[in-house]
């Protein structure tokens, strides 16, 4: 796959409420941030697969706004083994190691994956 195809495909899948990741067919390495080749072994033989959208919070913070409200930003580790940054909704139950599941929300007119505490 070409780089532009792979990057664009992510936005298409988000729109269909699917969470993509990439698996290297050469070494088996799984990663989220879209690349046309594997960052572990350099192979171009990679394929887009789909996550079940289940995982747990690896790291998180609550970013406070001036009015005292906050948003949770964190790193989620999916059960397939890859990690990604995202916002986590239902914030006050969020904590490291808590189970989460993917949801899709519109940001700037496009759908993106977020997570909510399971």
């Amino acid at each position: 796959m070409r780089d532009d195809e792979i990057r664009e495909s992510y936005f298409k899948y988000f729109n269909e409420e699917k969470l993509p990741f990439i698996q290297c067919k050469n070494c088996g390495h799984r990663f989220y941030y879209p690349r046309a080749f594997c960052p572990k072994c350099g192979s171009s033989d990679v394929e887009v697969r789909f996550s079940k959208g289940q995982g747990k919070i690896f790291a998180m913070t609550k970013i406070y706004r001036k009015d005292g409200s906050y948003v949770v930003y964190g790193i989620v580790e999916l059960d397939e083994g890859f990690r990604m940054y995202s916002n986590i909704v239902e914030g006050n139950q969020a904590d490291i190691a808590k189970r989460v599941e993917v949801i899709f929300k519109e940001i700037n007119g496009k759908k993106y994956p977020l997570f909510k505490v399971a």
Partner: protein
């Protein structure tokens, strides 16, 4: 071979960035007793939006040379954030030893108050090829990134808010003796904990304040009228972990683990440490990663040691950039200037007695992907 240096720091500098840079170059050359005509090498790392209004130079050492009429034999644009200037010093020493140039300016900083105050950061420069998949989320990099590390560190090791606050308090104590510090009134652990939480668990008093400022270091084989000690590079190492930290084995480690190992310097020989201090947690991560304390034990360490310039383990002896402000979002110049002040017995009011060896570590980029370890002292 560092024969002159200067740091010009302002909360709000009124004229353009290029004029602020000239102030810093003039002062550094004055200390060295050298002239613009002597400069035959230039290395730089400049904050974006820094020169004429919010204009960014594509290759700062080239455009600075053009503006000042410098005709360099070598040019180097080192751009991996805060620790870049530490690498420039190393490269300048190597170039001069190899005979590639005689007098090299190493520059870091910028005028960014207009960006700080208006949050005007819109630019076609990207920080990561994956910005489209990361920066769309509500986040506050780099603050939220370090906050995640601080929280994970407490979850795994029991590190407390009070322990982190102690770092801020001890650095502020040193700053109260530093005439160049922006923040000098003493603070307590309670003050830190009562300051606003910006990104949990980090409080406002644990975070640097971005300012306008340039640091210039003159590396030369010509002594001019310089009275500085003949400082050498005793050890050096750099390490780069370019992947997004989400893809690292764990975010509680930094590449300082590898840069310090590459420098491989006996810490018992160190008189003072200057560790990058964008946040309290940054200092603590480096204390662990350079080998001063075992991973996870830094909380207890800061409770049982005095990190002030008067203390048993003097760290960031001028108060660090947490108290001088952070020039153009990069603290490397602040820790390097402080190292040179200490080594030359010029640390007005906050001198560590017998400071002959200074260990510096810089951490760079919005997510700690780069680390540079530099040990300075006289080679005996």
């Amino acid at each position: 071979m560092i024969v002159g240096f200067a740091g010009k720091l302002y909360k709000n500098y009124e004229k353009d960035g290029i004029e602020l840079l000239k102030e810093a170059i003039d002062e550094a050359l004055e200390m060295a007793g050298l002239n613009y005509a002597d400069i035959d090498g230039i290395m730089a790392n400049i904050g974006r939006g820094s020169f004429h209004g919010n204009k960014t130079y594509l290759n700062p050492p080239v455009q600075i040379s053009e503006y000042f009429g410098i005709k360099p034999k070598i040019i180097d644009h080192v751009q991996y954030g805060g620790p870049s200037v530490l690498s420039m010093i190393y490269r300048a020493y190597k170039a001069i030893n190899a005979g590639d140039a005689e007098t090299i300016l190493c520059i870091q900083g910028g005028k960014i108050s207009h960006l700080r105050d208006n949050h005007f950061q819109k630019t076609d420069i990207i920080d990561s090829p994956f910005d489209d998949y990361i920066k769309i989320y509500e986040q506050m990099s780099p603050i939220s990134d370090y906050a995640m590390v601080a929280y994970r560190h407490s979850k795994l090791f029991g590190t407390t808010d009070e322990q982190r606050a102690r770092v801020a308090v001890m650095q502020r104590y040193s700053a109260s003796y530093n005439p160049k510090a922006l923040f000098r009134n003493p603070i307590t652990v309670k003050d830190v904990l009562q300051s606003r939480i910006v990104s949990y668990p980090l409080h406002l008093l644990e975070i640097v304040y971005p300012i306008d400022g340039f640091h210039v270091f003159v590396v030369s084989k010509r002594r001019g009228k310089s009275v500085l000690r003949n400082i050498d590079i005793l050890a050096y190492g750099e390490a780069h972990w370019p992947n997004p930290p989400a893809e690292w084995d764990d975010i509680i480690y930094t590449p300082a683990i590898e840069s310090a190992k590459r420098a491989s310097f006996d810490l018992n020989r160190v008189d003072t440490f200057q560790l990058y201090d964008s946040f309290t947690i940054t200092v603590m991560l480096q204390m662990e990663d350079i080998g001063l304390v075992e991973k996870g034990k830094v909380g207890q360490f800061v409770e049982s040691h005095d990190l002030t310039f008067k203390g048993d383990v003097p760290i960031n002896t001028g108060g660090g950039s947490l108290n001088t402000g952070q020039p153009a979002y990069m603290s490397g110049g602040v820790i390097l200037e402080e190292a040179l002040l200490q080594l030359n017995d010029m640390a007005d009011g906050h001198q560590v007695k017998g400071a002959d060896v200074v260990f510096l570590n810089g951490i760079g980029w919005w997510s700690r992907r780069h680390s540079v370890t530099l040990v300075l002292g006289e080679r005996k």
